[in-house]
Amino acid sequence: MDSIKEIMSSFPWADIFRALVTVVVGIIAARLLSKIVDRAAKRNLDKHNAALLRKVATYTVLGASILVALSTLGIKLSGLLAAAGLMTVALGFAAQTSVSNIISGFFLLMEKPFEVGDVVDIEGNVGVVLSLDLLSTKLRTFDNLFVRIPNENILKKPVKTFSKYQVRRIDVKFSIAYKEKITEAKEIVRSFLKSSSLVLEDPRPLIITRTLGDSGVDFVAKVWIDRTKLLEARDSVTAGIKKALDDAGIEIPFPHLTLYMGDPGQLRMQGCGIAPVAARSPKARALAMGRPRPPKRPRPKH
């Protein structure tokens, strides 16, 4: 009993209490400082730099209070620093992922590939950046899902930032039938694009003949828009091109499938393995259906 009393009396209660008070005061001071810095930084800095400054201030005060608490307990900081070296190695193995995320987080804060409030695409997750924290970055996707992405992944993978520039280009593909005139179709689409209020006058829209496709001539309209009106513009331009071509009586083709119902033997005699030359379109197939019949002509509509 006496020995317990002896131990208890020799225990540095006062120092422990002082150290605890130092840490608690440090936490309170860090929180207060965080709020003050946040308030001041928001007035003068953007969200991204405000968050960076807040974090630096908070962790500096917390770190300093812990060091003071340790020295209160009589722990020599020089020895601690030596031990810290060993601890770092041990921690490095144990918390490799976390440390990697933290370091990545600092790199991201410094490099600033995006900021809080930006619209980004990270590993296929498209959304608004809610926060860029020590371990991870949080997004809110446009279908209202919360996505947490480790900072390490962001540093390794490409990141698309949609809100960096005020304007962006959208490419709208369309086709016309081979019988139609390319210049006429281009002119019709160009005049529609000129009349659209969502399409920017400059940089000028560009209509390019892309390929001579399976079913028709393929084009792409490269159109510049205000990036905040992306969905509205994509919808309006795509629907508008279709309407403009329809109104002008220009056929928009779709994949054709020609069925030839004939006698395979007769076809072979004509020197054609699959279908007569006239019926050969890229997707043509021949089906053996017994006796050949003349193809049906469409009845005129009354």
């Binding site: 005020q166 304007v167 280009r169 009349s195 209020s197 006058e201 400059d202 205000d226």
Partner: protein
């Protein structure tokens, strides 16, 4: 327009008559202002086939009503319908067009300084454009404008004001001006009946990449009275160095800041 409907002048302030109804016509729209109760005003706007109504709560009896023209917030890119060729040392006095919008306002208080916007009229279709490279340019409104050589030829129609421009080519070679970016906050408006005109603008081209754009405080003579001042104070002298972003071909220039 009805018989009793007033074609609003840009300078006239209108009061609600005893019967509590005022019909006025502004640009291509007509308004019926009607006192519904003591402090509620019903504003019915008719534009084309479309009729819309809104209500405003204000001191209906003490207010005066006035249509006021204004410029759009964005700068205006004036694309010249005809290219403007200038020989070295040549100068010209020209008239272009800039887009305007109109607001129907109620003016209240001492000196009618309290201003309540009851409605805003804009052209149905605005051409939106972008000046400069896609990564650092600015949004602007685009307008295709004719070049007039005399004020009498240029008629400000609905949603357009006349812009008097004097161009001077101090360059050693011939230049061709195709477009001009005008910051609308430097423009003031003057009116004569239904005609709107801006303060004078002076363009001096010195080299391929150097020029001056001055915004003067006055307008051409012709009985115009000032109705608005520029949002940014107009001082004599150039407001900045011109840039010729995206010149299309040698000698063909587009100007802006």
């Amino acid at each position: 327009m009805k018989d009793d409907e007033k074609k609003a002048s840009w300078t006239e302030r209108l009061e609600l008559p005893e019967d509590g109804r005022l019909d006025i016509s502004v640009l291509d729209a007509s308004y019926a202002l009607e006192r519904v109760s003591g402090g509620v005003l019903k504003i019915t706007r008719k534009k084309g086939d479309k009729e819309t109504a809104s209500f405003a709560c204000l001191d209906v009896k003490r207010a005066v009503y006035q249509p006021q023209p204004d410029f759009h917030d964005l700068p205006t890119m004036i694309k010249l319908k005809e290219d403007l060729l200038l020989a070295p040392g040549a100068g010209a006095e020209l008239f272009l067009e800039v887009p305007v919008k109109a607001q129907l306002v109620a003016l209240l208080g001492k000196g009618r300084k309290e201003r309540i916007v009851l409605d805003e009229l804009k052209q149905a279709k605005q051409l939106q454009s972008f000046y400069g490279p896609p990564n650092e340019g600015i949004f602007c409104n685009a307008i295709y404008a004719k070049v007039y050589s005399a004020l009498e030829e240029a008629q400000s129609n609905d949603y357009r004001a006349i812009l008097p421009l004097s161009v001077e080519n101090r360059h050693s070679k011939q230049i061709s001006i195709t477009r001009l970016l005008i910051p609308s906050d430097r423009l003031a408006l003057f009116a004569r009946e239904q005609t709107l005109i801006t303060n004078r603008v002076r363009l001096k081209v010195k080299t391929d990449e150097d020029g001056e754009l001055d915004f003067l405080q006055d307008t051409v003579s012709g009985g115009f009275s000032r109705i608005t001042t520029s949002k940014t104070a107009v001082k004599s002298g150039a407001i900045g160095k011109l840039t010729t972003l995206g010149a299309m071909s040698p000698g063909e220039m587009q100007f802006g800041f």
